[in-house]
């Protein structure tokens, strides 16, 4: 009997202990949830410009992929869901923070000028705006070699695993997303689309595809499968590259397989600028980090805060300083030269992130926006394109 009683007591104590553990966990988690507010996550997150691609990125993280693995998988997906915005025929810039080393690096895989580029190309700028259609504007695509370099340096999962979710998306009956349909049916774009080779992809007879129309895109699914199994080199030194060059040569492009083979992503140090208690890491020229840093560097000197913008007058004052600062920044945008192609051009970054130029700009900002000539901001009258 004594043994039986002891066993009963043990079971009761175990039950009580278990109950207490569950209660404590529930309190901690609810407290945590309460302290973090609604919608917060506790371990990891992905923000892409469509839910389906954010979910694909999250799944890669949950498979113990690295943040770079997740970003690549989400980008491959976005090239299908938002093909008007990005894809394998474009270029990519990564800014990567490694928590264990505290190091940040930038991988710039934006397109480059092909070897045989029309030297009079830029005389066509004015007439080609704002859409810039035609093979003369095509650079050497950098996207996939950018992914490969980022994966080589920071990947954890096998390369092919990053492509599987998007290949499945295409193979299992993909339908036109609403955002893509809006672009396809935009009156300004429709005419250009209709007279371009994109017609065979996005038109159903005389009409563009509509939201939820079936959109299988088999050619891209095959390309993704080839790249998944053979790597990015299938495009840069292999069969896919030859097919690509062959297709666009028929449309007047001068891109060559040698251009593809020669493409190299750049791995560079980020720009690094103190911003209050934060450090801002952003991509150096020819990407836009120096301009972003200049804007925040000037404005931080005015010590705007939630209190200063609480009232209308304070808000107007803050936006007035923002507008004036943006004018100076827009005037500097033409200086984002590629330092590796123009080593002689002064490196603007130190200037833009330093205190001298910021202070000089702050001193020039007064209470009016109309007392000064545009030349003071170095603003050109030439209407440039909407660089991406």
């Amino acid at each position: 009997m004594a043994w039986g009683q002891r066993a009963t007591v043990c079971l009761v104590l175990l039950g009580v202990g278990l109950g207490l553990t569950i209660i404590v966990l529930a309190v901690v988690l609810s407290h945590h949830q309460a302290s973090c507010g609604p919608g917060a996550f506790t371990r990891a997150a992905v923000a892409a410009d469509s839910k389906i691609c954010s979910d694909i990125g999250r799944a890669i993280l949950q498979q113990q992929g690295s943040p770079v693995d997740a970003a690549i998988a989400a980008l491959i997906c976005t090239g299908v869901v938002n093909p008007q915005s990005m894809g394998l025929g474009g270029g990519v810039v990564f800014t990567i923070y490694n928590a264990s080393t505290g190091k940040v690096e930038v991988i710039n895989a934006r397109e480059t000028v092909p070897a045989s580029c029309d030297q009079d190309l830029l005389n066509q700028c004015r007439n080609s705006l704002p859409l810039g259609t035609g093979t003369q504007w095509i650079g050497v695509p950098g996207e996939l070699r950018g992914y490969a370099e980022a994966h080589r340096r920071h990947g954890r999962l096998p390369w092919a695993q990053l492509f599987r979710p998007t290949i499945a998306l295409l193979r299992e009956g993909f339908h036109v997303p609403s955002v893509l349909s809006q672009f396809l049916n935009n009156s300004i774009l429709w005419r250009s689309l209709n007279s371009s080779t994109l017609r065979q992809l996005f038109f159903n007879g005389t009409e563009t595809l509509r939201t939820q129309d079936p959109f299988p895109w088999p050619a891209l699914a095959n390309t993704l499968e080839t790249v998944a199994t053979e790597g990015a080199e299938a495009l840069y030194t292999g069969r896919l590259g030859r097919m690509l060059v062959e297709d666009i040569a028929k449309q007047g492009s001068q891109l060559t397989v040698q251009d593809l083979a020669a493409f190299q992503p750049e791995v560079v140090e980020p720009l690094e600028m103190p911003l209050g208690n934060y450090t801002l890491y952003s991509p150096p020229p020819p990407a836009g980090g120096a301009i972003l840093s200049l804007i925040l560097n000037v404005l931080k000197g005015f010590n705007f805060s939630a209190e200063t913008v609480a009232r209308l007058e304070g808000k107007v004052n803050m936006y007035h300083h923002l507008v004036e600062t943006l004018k100076f920044a827009v005037g500097q945008r033409g200086r984002l030269w590629d330092p590796s192609s123009y080593p002689g051009i002064q490196n603007i970054s130190q200037d833009f992130l330093g205190e001298d130029l910021a202070q000089r700009i702050r001193q020039q900002i007064d209470g009016r926006g109309d007392h000064h000539r545009l030349s003071r901001y170095n603003l050109s009258r030439v209407r440039g394109n909407k660089m991406g």
Partner: protein, 185 residues
């Protein structure tokens, strides 16, 4: 252009911006590979030599200038970081700068910081206001002589994605302007 922000379990982070510059880029399609080609070289039109109207010709291998700003802001002391970037051509920098200010200086939560309507200054120094921008502020700026752009931009394509970590709390927001939605766990 599209941007993706990622924060991993160990606190490592990636901001990645990828681009087809103008919608559908060069509008050139490769039917054998299914690839659309971008019109990146159009960005060369932006370069200029201060004080000169001459735009130097393209150099083979050159990377044109870009508005892309995939950025990471780290506050080691407080264990917080903001992983951010955006899309929308020349609007990218205006949108990302205003989101950073809204979040880190003005105390907005991340959703509000991204959703807040932006203003932009074009090449002529005129102000362009995103629809729903605060009318009273707009009036106040006009009273201060900030000229408004005569030609209203047909569509504002700015879209920002960001992940913000504050201690144990992680917030991820994708821009509703592009029907985005973030995911996490």
């Amino acid at each position: 252009t599209s941007h993706v922000s990622v924060l991993g379990e160990d606190g490592s982070a990636v901001a990645a911006t990828s681009t087809i510059n103008t919608p559908f880029g060069a509008m050139v399609y490769s039917p054998q590979t299914g690839i659309l080609l971008n019109n990146e070289l159009l960005d060369l039109c932006r370069r200029n030599v201060p004080g000169s109207n001459v735009i130097p010709p393209p150099v083979p291998g050159e990377r044109p200038p870009s508005s892309m700003v995939p950025s990471i802001l780290v506050n080691k002391g407080q264990g917080s970081k903001l992983v951010i970037g955006g899309a929308g051509g020349e609007l990218i920098i205006s949108a990302v700068a205003q989101t950073i200010m809204n979040k880190l200086w003005f105390g907005f939560d991340l959703t509000e910081a991204i959703a807040a309507p932006i203003l932009h200054v074009n090449n002529e120094g005129h102000v362009e206001y995103e629809p729903n921008f605060n009318q009273e502020v707009r009036k106040g700026l006009q009273d201060r002589g900030q000229s408004q752009s005569q030609s209203q931009r047909p569509v504002f394509l700015n879209a920002v994605q960001a992940v913000f970590q504050e201690g144990p709390c992680i917030y991820a927001v994708s821009d509703l302007r592009k029907a985005g939605k973030a995911s996490g766990y």
